[in-house]
C-alpha cells in the first residue's frame, strides 16, 4: 500500500498550492521509490528506483508529446487577434437580434455535442474555438444587455464558455463507435472473455447524452436570468 503515498504527495502539493509541474514530478518519484520499498532494502536500491522512475517518466513524456502539439494553433489565433478577430466576434453578436449569452452557449453546446457524436471531436476546443470566438461572443451578448460587466460576471461568462466545450464533448463522443473510450471498453471486455460490438456500447451512451443536454441546457437557459441578478447585485456577485 506504500505506492499510494504518491497520491498523498499529489493532493498535499495541490492543497499547498505548490507549482503543479514540480508536485507531479515529486509524486511520480515518491510512487516509484515506494513501489521498490520493503523492509531491509538498501538506500542504493532506492536511489536506483528513483532514477528508473525519472527515466520512465521521461519515456512517457516523450511518447505523449502529441498532447502538446495543440499549441501550434497559437500563432494563427494570435495573428487573427492582432487584426481584430475577437472584436469581430463581438460585433457579429451585438448586431444579432435575440442573441443572449445563454442562447449562444446552448447553440454551441448542441453543435459540439452533435459533431462529437459523429466522431468529429476536433471541431471545437479551447484554443481554437472558445478563446477566439465563443467566449468573446458570450461576453458581447452579456454586454449588449447589461452594459459594462462587473469582473465577477465577465469571468463567470468565460468559465461557462469553457465548460460548454467540455461537457458537450464528453457526453457526445461516446455515441460514435470508433472513439477511443468505446474501443478501450471493447478491448477490456474482450480480455475478460466477453465479446461486445462497439455499436452495443455506443447505443447505451445515448441516454446519458440526452440527460446531459437536458441538465446543462436547462442551466444555460437559466443563465441569462442568473447573470441579470448578479449584475443587479454586484456586491453579492461571487
Amino acid at each position: 500500500m506504500w505506492v499510494l503515498l504518491g497520491i498523498a504527495v499529489l493532493v498535499g502539493g495541490f492543497v499547498a498550492r505548490l507549482n503543479p509541474l514540480a508536485v507531479i514530478l515529486a509524486a511520480a518519484v515518491v510512487t516509484g521509490v515506494a513501489a521498490a520499498f520493503a523492509p531491509g532494502v538498501s538506500p542504493a536500491a532506492l536511489w536506483t528506483a528513483a532514477l528508473d522512475t525519472i527515466a520512465a517518466f521521461g519515456r512517457a513524456f516523450n511518447d505523449y508529446r502529441y498532447i502538446s502539439v495543440i499549441w501550434l494553433v497559437l500563432p494563427l489565433i494570435g495573428i487573427l487577434e492582432r487584426y481584430g478577430l475577437q472584436e469581430r466576434a463581438r460585433i457579429l453578436i451585438s448586431t444579432a437580434r435575440g442573441a443572449t449569452t445563454g442562447r449562444i452557449l446552448l447553440a454551441y453546446f448542441v453543435l459540439r455535442q452533435v459533431s462529437a457524436a459523429l466522431g468529429q471531436t476536433k471541431l471545437g476546443g479551447h484554443p481554437q474555438m472558445v478563446r477566439p470566438l465563443i467566449a468573446p461572443m458570450a461576453e458581447a451578448a452579456a454586454e449588449a444587455r447589461h452594459g459594462d460587466l462587473p469582473d465577477a460576471v465577465r469571468y463567470r461568462v468565460r468559465a461557462h464558455a469553457a465548460a460548454v466545450d467540455n461537457i458537450a464533448l464528453f457526453f457526445g463522443e461516446d455515441i460514435f463507435i470508433a472513439i477511443a473510450s468505446i474501443l478501450l471498453i471493447k478491448g477490456f471486455l474482450e480480455a475478460n472473455g466477453i465479446l461486445v460490438e462497439p455499436l452495443q456500447l455506443s447505443v447505451w451512451a445515448i441516454p446519458t447524452a440526452i440527460a446531459a443536454l437536458l441538465v446543462h441546457g436547462t442551466r444555460l437557459v437559466l443563465l441569462d436570468r442568473s447573470l441579470a441578478r448578479q449584475v443587479a447585485a454586484p456586491e453579492a456577485g461571487r
Binding site: L4, G6, I7, L10, F14, R17, L18, P20, L21, A22, I24, L25, T31, A34, T53, I54, A55, A56, G58, R59, A60, F61, N62, Y64, I67, S68, V69, I70, W71, L72, L74, P75, L76, G78, I79, R82, Y83, G84, L85, G119, K122, L123, Q128, Y155, A159, A162, A163, N166, F171, S181, L184, I185, F188, I194, V196, L201, W204, T208, A211, V215
Partner: protein
C-alpha cells in the same frame, strides 16, 4: 507520407522561435527563464526520440525546476492597440473568421477524405494521430491565407503566438506531465491497490449499492487520476465485472458504457484533468487560474453531480432489464 514526426518538427521549430524571441524581450525581466523553458520543449520535440529515457526525464526535471522557482515570466511583444483592432475588425468584416474556421474545416476534410487518400500506393497520412496531422495542415493553411491577406510583419505570427503561449505559461505542459504521471502509476500498480481497497472494505450486498459503488468509484478514481481511461480498467475489474455483472447479472455493455460516462463526471471536477479544466482558465485569463478549483471547475460541478446521479439511476434501471 505526412507523419506525426513532421508535426513534431513543426512544433519544435515554433517553440525554438518562442525561445529565441523571448531572449530578446527586454520588457520581460524573467526572459531567460522563458527562453530556457520553451527551448527545452523545442529540444523535446526536435530530438526527444534520439535522447535516452533518463535524458528525457532530466529534461522534465529541468522544466519542473524552472516552473517551481517561478523563473517563467510573461513576454510583452509589440502588438496592436484595442482601437486598431476595432478599426481592423470593422474594415475587414466577417472575412476574419475564414482563416480561423479553416482549422475545423481542414480537420473535417482530413478525417473524411485525406486520411483515406493514397497517392502512388503511399497513404497521404501516417498511421499515428491522423486527426492531429489534419489539425496541423489546417493551421498551416490558415497561416498561409492570413499572411497573404493581412500582410503582417514576417515575425508577427511567432510574436503573437509567443504572447499567447506566455499567457498560458507552464500550464501548457501540464496535460503532458499528468499523462506521464499516469504511466508511472500504471508501472507501480497504484490502480490495482485502490481497486483492492474498494473491493475489500465496502459491503456491497445489494445491487443498488454495487451500482452506486461502481459509478461513484469511477468518478472518484477519475478525480484522482484526471483521466477516466486510467480509472476504467481498475474500477471495472474491482467492482463492475465481479459484482454488478457477475453477482447481480447486469448487462456488461450497459454497465461499462455508463460506467465510463460516470468517470467523465469526475473529469469535469478535477484540476488533474488539466487540458480540460486548467488550460482554458489560463487561455481565458481567469483570475483564479491557479486555484485548485478554478471558475471552470466550479461551473461544471453541478452538471457533473446531476449527471452522475442520473447515470446511477440509468444503470440501475437499464442494466438488469436488457
Amino acid at each position: 507520407m505526412i507523419t506525426l514526426q513532421w508535426l513534431y518538427i513543426f512544433a519544435g521549430l515554433t517553440f525554438l522561435a518562442f525561445a529565441l524571441l523571448s531572449a530578446g524581450d527586454r520588457a520581460n525581466p524573467k526572459r531567460l527563464g522563458n527562453t530556457a523553458f520553451w527551448g527545452l520543449l523545442a529540444v523535446s520535440f526536435l530530438f526527444g526520440s534520439y535522447l535516452s529515457d533518463l535524458a528525457n526525464g532530466l529534461l522534465v526535471v529541468a522544466l519542473a525546476v524552472i516552473a517551481g522557482f517561478k523563473w517563467l515570466g510573461q513576454g510583452k511583444p509589440a502588438t496592436t492597440t484595442g482601437e486598431e483592432r476595432l478599426a481592423s475588425a470593422q474594415r475587414r468584416g466577417d472575412w476574419l473568421f475564414v482563416p480561423a474556421l479553416l482549422i475545423p474545416a481542414v480537420a473535417l476534410l482530413g478525417a473524411l477524405v485525406l486520411d483515406k487518400t493514397v497517392i502512388f500506393g503511399v497513404p497521404l497520412f501516417g498511421p499515428e494521430q491522423p486527426t492531429l496531422i489534419a489539425l496541423g495542415l489546417g493551421v498551416a493553411a490558415g497561416l498561409a491565407l492570413a499572411m497573404a491577406w493581412l500582410r503582417p510583419p514576417v515575425l508577427a505570427p511567432l510574436q503573437e503566438g509567443r504572447r499567447l503561449m506566455d499567457a498560458v505559461g507552464w500550464a501548457g505542459v501540464l496535460p503532458q506531465m499528468l499523462a506521464s504521471l499516469g504511466a508511472v502509476f500504471v508501472i507501480a500498480g497504484v490502480g490495482d491497490r485502490i481497486g483492492e481497497l474498494f473491493a475489500t472494505y465496502l459491503p456491497l450486498d445489494h445491487r443498488l449499492l454495487a451500482v452506486i459503488a461502481y459509478c461513484v468509484g469511477m468518478a472518484l478514481f477519475t478525480f484522482i487520476m484526471g483521466n477516466a481511461f486510467a480509472a476504467f480498467p481498475v474500477m471495472t475489474a474491482a467492482v463492475g465485472l465481479p459484482l454488478v455483472v457477475g453477482q447481480f447479472g447486469g448487462d456488461p455493455a450497459i454497465v461499462c458504457a455508463i460506467g465510463m460516462l460516470s468517470g467523465f463526471c469526475g473529469t469535469l471536477t478535477t484540476p488533474m484533468a488539466a487540458n480540460f479544466n486548467v488550460v482554458p482558465a489560463a487561455l481565458l485569463d481567469l483570475p483564479d487560474r491557479e486555484a485548485p478549483f478554478n471558475g471552470v471547475i466550479r461551473v461544471q460541478v453541478p452538471t457533473a453531480g446531476l449527471i452522475l446521479v442520473i447515470n446511477i439511476a440509468l444503470m440501475y434501471f437499464l442494466a438488469f432489464r436488457f
